[in-house]
């Protein structure tokens, strides 16, 4: 048997978030997604909201947090006891489903993750795999946002969640995939300047968190920092200790991964107020003012 504790919350209703507990039968080689689907079929009084489409690591739409770790549900093996929550750093739509569309529209698309050149060469263009290897590896990215959920945000405001370095990890991977593509002729230095890109922090969790097996630290962060900001490849790896809190604001609710040192600062400043919700220890209401971690 597998014991599941699933986060349930409908921000459009006035009901507090809660955890639904359900036991399901283990099956051969079971994935977290199979367990969730079984829970979806089993629960009599609730229609669990969880998003997935392909079940085979292609659509990138089933990312959730399991026992505190962001994973792709169709990829991660099911363990005997699992607490399932929506991935951090994205606004919750319902239960395990988050809004990733805004991130794609407002951040990823601004980084022009496609190829541009003045003329299209005759097919098939000669380009050796050697030269394409780095871009090819990054093109495995399915934009599942597991990486963006694994690292701390810069801050939170009633208007939204400020991703790491202003763009978050998934956008960096998408951008770097084209930065390293020898065929692309977009002026990505200029683009980076226009959108205000900054050196990306070297979070060590990015080495192993990608379900597609991309070493995001070595394959995206280091080369992007080197090419755009002439940062040295061997720069300091950031301390990865993070804490996750549940934040409610007027416009959005989300699990937020933050630097543990930032939390008391925000609470002391009165930006975050601890709320009393049964079953939860870390729920905070966000004041209707802008939070700038640097000024606080």
């Amino acid at each position: 048997m597998i014991k599941l504790k699933i986060f349930c919350y409908d921000p459009s209703s006035s009901v507090d978030p809660c955890y639904e507990e359900v036991c399901i039968t283990r099956t051969d080689n079971m994935r977290v997604l199979d367990a969730l689907n079984s829970a979806y079929e089993t629960l009599q009084h609730r229609s669990l909201a969880h998003r997935w489409f392909c079940g085979t690591k292609k659509c990138g739409e089933c990312a959730i947090t399991v026992n505190g770790k962001p994973v792709l549900a169709c990829w991660e093996a099911a363990s005997d006891e699992m607490t399932c929550e929506p991935i951090s750093n994205f606004p919750i739509i319902r239960d395990l489903v988050v809004d990733t569309a805004r991130y794609e529209r407002d951040i990823i698309m601004k980084l022009r993750p496609w190829m541009e050149r003045p003329t299209v060469p005759t097919f098939p263009e000669k380009v050796s795999h050697q030269r394409m290897r780095a871009a090819h590896s990054l093109s495995k990215c399915i934009e599942c946002n597991v990486c963006s959920a694994a690292i701390p945000v810069e801050g939170v405001t009633p208007a939204g969640i400020q991703a790491a370095a202003g763009i978050g990890a998934a956008a960096l991977v998408r951008f770097t995939r084209f930065l390293l593509d020898p065929r692309d002729q977009t002026n990505r230095h200029q683009l980076a300047e226009t959108v205000g890109m900054r050196p990306f922090p070297n979070f060590s969790v990015l080495k192993t968190v990608c379900p597609q097996g991309i070493d995001i630290l070595d394959e995206a962060v280091v080369p992007a920092n080197r090419i755009l900001f002439s940062s040295r490849a061997e720069s300091q790896v950031e301390d990865d200790e993070t804490t996750t809190i549940f934040v409610r604001s007027q416009n959005w609710s989300a699990f937020i991964r933050i630097d543990p040192q930032l939390k008391p600062v925000l609470v002391a400043a009165g930006t975050l107020t601890k709320a009393d919700v049964p079953m939860f220890s870390e729920v905070y209401d966000l004041l209707d003012t802008v939070v700038d971690p640097k000024s606080s």
């Binding site: 909201a49 997935w52 489409f53 079940g55 093109s139």
Partner: protein
């Protein structure tokens, strides 16, 4: 809401249709049940087959083809290379029932399309000398299992950057009429927010794909429930070839979500060796290399059927894919599922991989004029795998998307765009309200009904069919419709991301399409390709090089037989033993 062209579906066909209609200046809306480029059949595509490469400029090739086609109406001319080989392959893959003219047109179009295939950044795998990595036998480029999602993502960004309006996670559930007998848009449930949208459109392009999840084990992704076929039939369109289901014999047996993981029986990149199939005793029952066939899917099914008959294997377990003869390096480099097995603690170059069959796709679909992609219902166009004219392929689907958009835009310019009629809106609202009722523990949930429907297809409409099993299927489906569906209720009233409501909408479509498919299967009294009638175990090219065409009139299913086009390649008439002849 009012648009020139409504595109339903967001795969290879839908994306191209939307891009092309947009390019032609039309106001376009795309409605995608899942996520554009990410859900549906497109991300599952193995590789790209780029058709015949002639090196002849399309501006010369196109008129040449027209002259050739005109002369061929009167005299039989030999087909020039490379089209002859390519068309022969298509005829064989489609068990003779292919639209030959359409495939030649595709071959010509391909020459124009090729320069653009990598335009937005797609990278088809090269070797270190810079040449494409291809399998000669199939002309398949890229790595097995890795092309579709990269192609889909690239198309996704193309559509987004073009600024085309897209509503994702929204299901179209009824086509609306502009006037009597026309289609003028659709009613759409945006299930992310619970909004009901009435979309009036000059022309509607159905591009919902071919890979539906209609049987317990199937390749179709979570959202695929034959909605496109069902909506089209209800609007008066005809379907054909829907009696023929294409099965995979060697997909992953477990876990359940990985049933869409395919162990390719085709020639492989980087190796001369191929997969060997073993039964539960460990004995080899098929070495796919011995078949000398690039697409040995039906051969695999026939051999598995024989093993099941002897008690040596079963449909969902006890049959194994053995890749140990293939070089480990070729598997690691070019096979998508290598890492899945490694992740699950297996080495696919050594360990046996347990298989189950899956209902992969409907070989048939909506019947249309393949010159224009218009169905018999004015205003309704199709593109891609949802059509009855071809099996799936992301490049063929792209071709269709362009054709459909060209004619849909022209059609939309000729008609007056209207808002959806108030009567249509009211009917749709009533349907949604009825389905939205929340029940108690005594009721049955929509997902449970879906599973019951799928179980009927798994039990009675699998690879092995007979008059009896098909009658059983029809009566079981009718029992679910009358005895179970009335007790189906939602478990949650939430307006936001409530899949119970989507599942409830799907149930009717799934039952409708399975019933039609069973009726069509009864009509085809022979076996052909993956359509296997145990009571008619022969392939009859004398009487059955025909389409079974199905439609619904006054909620009765109507079947007729239509001729096929054999203009360029004529198959030998006569009758062969289906199980004995591997190519039947």
């Amino acid at each position: 809401m009012k648009v020139d062209v409504l595109v339903i579906g967001g795969g290879a066909a839908g994306c191209m249709a939307a891009l092309q209609a947009h390019r032609l200046g039309a106001k376009v809306l795309m409605v995608v049940k899942g996520k554009m480029g990410r859900s549906g059949a497109t991300p599952l595509a193995s590789g790209v087959r780029l058709g015949p490469l002639t090196g002849i400029p399309p501006r010369l090739l196109s008129p040449l083809k027209r002259i050739y086609a005109r002369v061929s109406d009167y005299v039989r001319l030999p087909l020039p290379k490379p089209f002859s080989g390519s068309l022969a392959g298509a005829v064989s893959t489609h068990f003779g029932l292919v639209d030959q003219e359409y495939f030649l047109d595709f071959g010509v179009w391909m020459q124009t399309f090729l320069p653009f295939v990598e335009e937005s950044g797609l990278y088809l795998r090269r070797d270190d000398q810079g040449s494409l990595v291809a399998v000669a036998e199939t002309g398949m480029f890229h790595s097995h299992g890795m092309t579709g999602y990269q192609f889909g993502e690239s198309r996704r960004k193309d559509v987004l950057r073009a600024g085309i309006d897209v509503i994702e996670e929204a299901t179209a559930f009824t086509l609306t009429s502009a006037s009597e007998g026309n289609v003028g848009g659709a009613m759409v449930l945006d299930y992310r927010s619970g909004r009901l949208l009435a979309v009036g459109a000059g022309a509607t392009i159905m591009a919902t794909g071919h890979t539906d999840w209609l049987s317990t084990r199937a390749t179709g992704t979570r959202e695929m429930a034959a909605n496109g076929l069902a909506m089209a039939v209800r609007a008066g369109a005809e379907l054909h070839n829907v009696e023929i289901q294409w099965f995979h014999a060697s997909d992953a047996a477990a876990p359940r979500s990985w049933m869409r993981l395919h162990h390719y029986p085709n020639p492989l990149h980087g190796s001369d060796r191929r997969v060997v199939m073993r039964n539960a005793k460990g004995d080899v029952y098929l070495d796919t290399a011995d078949t000398k066939v690039a697409m040995p899917y039906t051969i695999q099914m026939k051999e598995l059927y024989k093993q099941v008959g002897k008690g040596n294997a079963d449909w969902d377990h006890g049959s194994f894919a053995d890749f140990s003869g293939v070089e480990a390096n070729a598997l690691r480099e070019y096979q998508y599922h290598w890492e899945f097995y490694r992740h699950a603690g297996k080495d696919m170059s050594r360990d046996l991989l347990e298989c189950g069959i899956t209902w992969h796709m409907c070989a048939g679909g909506i019947r249309a004029d393949t010159k224009t992609m218009q169905t018999r219902v004015p205003g309704l166009f199709i593109a891609g795998g949802v059509g009855g004219h071809m099996l799936g392929s992301i490049i063929l689907a792209t071709f269709d998307g362009e054709t459909a958009a060209n004619y849909a835009v022209e059609y939309a310019r000729r008609v007056v765009r209207r808002q959806v009629d108030a009567k249509d809106v009211e009917l749709a609202e009533r349907k949604l309200n009825t389905l939205s009722e929340v029940g108690t523990a005594q009721n049955v949930s929509p997902i449970a009904v879906k599973e019951q429907v799928r179980a009927v297809a798994w039990k009675h409409m699998m690879y092995r069919k007979s008059e009896r099993s098909l009658h059983d299927a029809i009566s079981e489906l009718s029992r679910i419709r009358t005895d179970v569906v009335p007790h189906m209720r939602l478990r949650s009233a939430s307006q936001s991301f409530n899949w119970d409501l989507v599942d409830a909408l799907d149930v009717e479509d799934m039952i409708d399409v399975l019933e039609i498919s069973a009726q069509a299967s009864l009509a085809r009294t022979e076996s052909r390709g993956p359509h296997f009638r145990e009571d008619y175990p022969f392939t009859d090219n004398k009487n059955w090089l025909k389409h079974v065409v199905v439609s619904r009139e006054h909620s009765k299913i109507k079947t007729r037989i239509a001729d096929i086009n054999q203009k360029y390649i004529k198959l030998k008439r006569g009758r062969v033993d289906y199980l004995a002849d591997p190519l039947a």
